[in-house]
Assembly symmetry: C2
Homo-oligomer: 248 residues x 2
């Protein structure tokens, strides 16, 4: 395998595959020459090593561009993006996707055994190849086509990126009031843990769920910035609507 990319996803995948005994990671390409995990690095696309699989772990915009620069040598070329179609690799006869559904941050070590890999290929043999490859680092392999993958990526934005921004808003409220953010940690962890046991709808609590107008009014008064008031209002309305429908 050759991994192309120098960002968080490339680094995390390199780390995971470097440890796998079933996969031989022979080279990494990136323009900046970022080295990691003692794998040989090249900054020159024309000096790519021979491999069975080329993994493009690059930004969404760069997928097609870099794919077009690789000669079609009948090797399997895959990308790792949640929102780019497999057809962005149409310049390659054998193409596929290996999308790790996780949030990758620098300096954060991950348990790869729990990362779901969403795989897709344009022929059955390559699908099986990707399956074998992913199974060498994770037991959670899903067959997801480009259309479903885009929806899944959208869902991931809600449950990860937007959720993290709500943590940020909670952080700002504690900071502004001289309260340690740590006090919110057990609540954050329990809120996440709860949805492994039931649907989010069953687990919903709070003033919007109870239609507690008094508390919601007090909360809105405490929020000074109109942008924050708006977020409060719109999410409270959405919760009210979700739970109001029950009575209809």
């Amino acid at each position: 395998m050759v991994i192309l990319g120098g960002g968080n996803v490339a680094q995390h995948l390199a780390k995971a595959f470097a440890k796998s005994k079933r996969v031989q990671l022979v080279q990494i390409y990136n323009r900046k020459g970022v080295t990691f995990h003692q794998i040989p690095v090249t900054q020159d696309l024309s000096k790519l090593a021979k491999a069975d699989i080329y993994v493009l772990a690059v930004s969404d915009d760069a997928v097609e561009e870099i794919a077009n620069q690789l000669p079609d040598n009948q090797q399997l070329v895959v990308h790792t993006s949640g929102s780019v179609s497999m057809e962005a690799l149409a310049s390659h006869t054998r193409r596929g996707v290996l999308y790790p559904l996780q949030t990758f941050s620098k300096d954060r070590s991950l348990d790869y055994a729990t990362i779901p890999f969403c795989i897709e290929a344009n022929n059955k043999a390559d699908f099986q190849l990707l399956e074998t490859l992913s199974k060498s680092i994770s037991p959670a392999i899903y067959s997801i086509n480009s259309e479903k993958r885009k929806k899944l990526h959208l869902a991931a934005v809600f449950v990860c990126n937007f959720v993290n921004h709500l943590y940020q808003l909670g952080y700002e409220i504690t900071e502004e009031n001289g309260i340690p953010f740590a006090i919110l940690q057990p609540l954050i962890q329990e809120t996440a843990a709860k949805v492994t046991q039931g649907t989010p709808r069953e687990m919903q609590t709070g003033p919007a769920k109870r239609n507690d107008q008094k508390t919601m009014q007090k909360h809105l008064e405490m929020l000074a910035l109109p942008e924050k008031k708006e977020i409060y209002q719109i999410l409270s309305n959405a919760i009210a609507q979700t739970h109001g429908r029950k009575e209809l």
Copy 2:
């Protein structure tokens, strides 16, 4: 101790204090006569047992009303609400607050050792009494006055109730597209786990953070309901603003 209330908070506190060797939970009061953990229950306020502390684990609206129905026998009366001031108990000479900062759902067993208790009292001796009491079930005790507690409760709505609704939106997207919700679980857990290691701002990822307009446009097109588009837009803008300020 006597606990007044029959909801999730009352039940969870009863369970925790029933196990504590330092506290004797002698009675539970609630109108419906809900029994739990083999503790004697009364439905009659005039038949309350004698105790050193009366804990009002009732709904926000009921705190003052029930407090006013209890005679002021110079015993400590506390409530457990995040958004009600201690002064709602002004009919009692000795008053305080014992606010467990956690989300309590039915049928969900909790590790009480990790629940932060925010305590407040109108005199030092009672503060110490509440401290001893809370320490018998949790090591995480914080001194938080009514003003700060209201802010903390607001922060909790963001990091718990609103976060759970974003899980719900992710759930709906997976359900509508025949994708198992379970595939999002590792992402949900990792997103929560990450903020124990750094600030939410440092941990932010995703299209809004990267200002990836193309992906955000595609996402908006996929969301059919205007309410969901609005949530997507408003949270993406908030992330952009939080991270744009860095460059100013």
